[in-house]
Symmetry: C2
Subunit: 330 residues, 2 copies
């Protein structure tokens, strides 16, 4: 069927060992022999069997990203796709491959354990990291290469994270710049690292910039966000700026307040497609960059190189939800 290294060797009148050396850029092949072999390889467009190579080398050049299903929703947000795009940008540019899988039910540790034993992949990129994550425990024990997207309290691993602290700080700074004096921050639930980091950024901006900020907990829930606004409205709404820990909460707030003809600058977080559509100012986490860096890092790790954790900077996207207030304040 297709050509094997043995066929090339025969045609070139050399041993398979020599062909293999040429294939792998070994220096101990004479230029003459090398050229002779190269010519034949090119003529027949010979490509080695990667499975056979993998078996010998104990490396496949394949990595994996596993999506765990949370409430049936998997791979249906732009976060996943942008992240994948970043990961693929790296791997495809290097001729490496990525296995994408979803793991629905059953033991997560068992799933990863089987993946390791099957020897198909050289490393993992972990999403949705939790506190005391069983995957981390397993992979550390097995000394198997992986990098984590995000952080938890332990950080006994290499991670690539978004700079949530700086992102939240930027949002508050922007509201301050458009002259907001009293800001409402609607946070995500505590216990989630992302929420805690964003709150830290808000507190830090409050201290540095001297703005008044009240914090409420919307828990990334749209209804809860509206409830918070309703109960504030009962006492009279005194805020001249709102920052929400997610675009979905920000949009819920925007819609609710618009219904009551209350106009107030508002900033969200995540830069989901809807936000561009409705003109919501927000923080973009540069998810593509995060994916790219994660891929690069796990690849280096699998190849035994030194690797370090990274924090990827976010970007403020200014849109109508805040920009339209600039003139009013002047």
């Amino acid at each position: 069927m297709s050509l094997k290294i043995k066929d090339i060797a025969k045609m070139a009148n050399v041993s398979v060992a020599t062909v293999s050396r040429v294939l792998n850029d070994s220096d101990k092949v004479s230029l003459e022999t090398k050229n002779k072999i190269m010519k034949i390889i090119q003529k027949y467009d010979y490509k080695p069997d990667r499975i056979a190579t993998s078996l010998r080398r104990k490396k496949t050049g394949i990595y994996a990203v596993i999506f765990s299903v949370k409430g049936g929703k998997v791979l249906e947000d732009t976060y996943s796709t942008k992240f994948l795009k970043g990961v693929l940008n790296y791997f495809s540019s290097k001729g490496l491959k990525l296995i994408v899988d979803i793991h629905e039910n059953g033991n997560v540790a068992e799933y990863y354990s089987n993946m390791i034993k099957s020897k198909v992949v050289d490393g993992f990129i972990l999403l949705d990291i939790r506190k005391n994550d069983e995957r981390v425990n397993l992979l550390n024990k097995e000394k198997f290469p992986y990098v984590v997207i995000g952080r938890n309290d332990e950080n006994n691993f290499v991670y690539i994270d978004s700079d949530n602290v700086a992102g939240a700080y930027m949002a508050i700074k922007h509201l301050k710049q458009i002259k907001c004096k009293k800001i409402l921050y609607i946070s995500g639930d505590m216990g989630i690292p992302v929420s805690e980091q964003r709150l830290t950024g808000v507190k830090s901006a409050q201290k540095d910039l001297g703005v008044e900020i009240d914090v409420e907990f919307g828990d990334f829930d749209e209804e809860k966000t509206v409830e918070i606004l309703k109960s504030i409205l009962k006492k009279g709404f005194e805020y001249d700026g709102i920052f929400c820990a997610s675009d979905t909460m920000a949009y819920a707030a925007m819609k609710f307040l618009k219904g009551l003809n209350i106009e107030v600058p508002i900033v969200g977080y995540d830069n989901i497609p809807l936000s561009e559509f409705v003109g919501l100012s927000t923080i973009d986490q540069n998810i593509i960059k995060i994916g790219y860096s994660a891929a690069q890092t796990v690849d280096n790790m699998a190849k035994g190189k030194e690797t370090i954790s990274m924090v990827v900077p976010s970007k403020l996207i200014k849109r109508q939800s805040t920009l339209s207030f600039i003139q009013k304040h002047i």
Copy 2:
């Protein structure tokens, strides 16, 4: 390091051949021996090396979906993600794996040729099929398993396609049901199979249902769609219903007409997330089902089973953009 079949054989006092037979559910192993071996396999949670198995069996259990970059935009629409989700639903349920890759520049046929020679995957699912597609020519020549999403004129392959004809028919039927008498159909560009199929459905509904329909070509372009409406408006707008070959065109039309205070029922195609948001009635292609069926089909093909092409039915999603007109007509 990790256990090999030889280790299990030694512990069970049998040959590796026998262990292999147990692993592969061979019937020619005595129940006694089988139980003895199973116990040891379970005790040590032994899993065979899939790379070694693949080398022997000439099958890896890995399939591939390659996204080709078109204008930098890849994997950033909901089509790709829903499709992937469907594909993964099948593969993950069967313990099979999926390689996702992007191919940016360079020779497409060469990319596929190298993938085949590297022996890593058992089959492909092809997206964005074109007329006289070079991938089809290559894969047919190599007799390599693959299935195509969509159709072209040749159809010298197994495909999974959306029923665009029936989808378009349903849209017109719905407009007719809400008493539209004169409908404007804004089509995609000819030469694209999807456009031609949807136009066929429109024409067929026109004939069957006896509605008056004019066709214009918006070419899936939002600006062009608005231009069409503008030039129609000059002569006076006489339509009481609009159907567009995509949600993006439908949304552009909706926004433009609303700006002029013209209210007319409108139906789009694709059911993108924005459509739910703005209440646009549309046709949902059931992309998840398409992905699932494609995965199943290529898997069957790689295993030498009979396979057939499929047309997956679409669904009408009724929303405010048409429903709000029901009372007006009564």
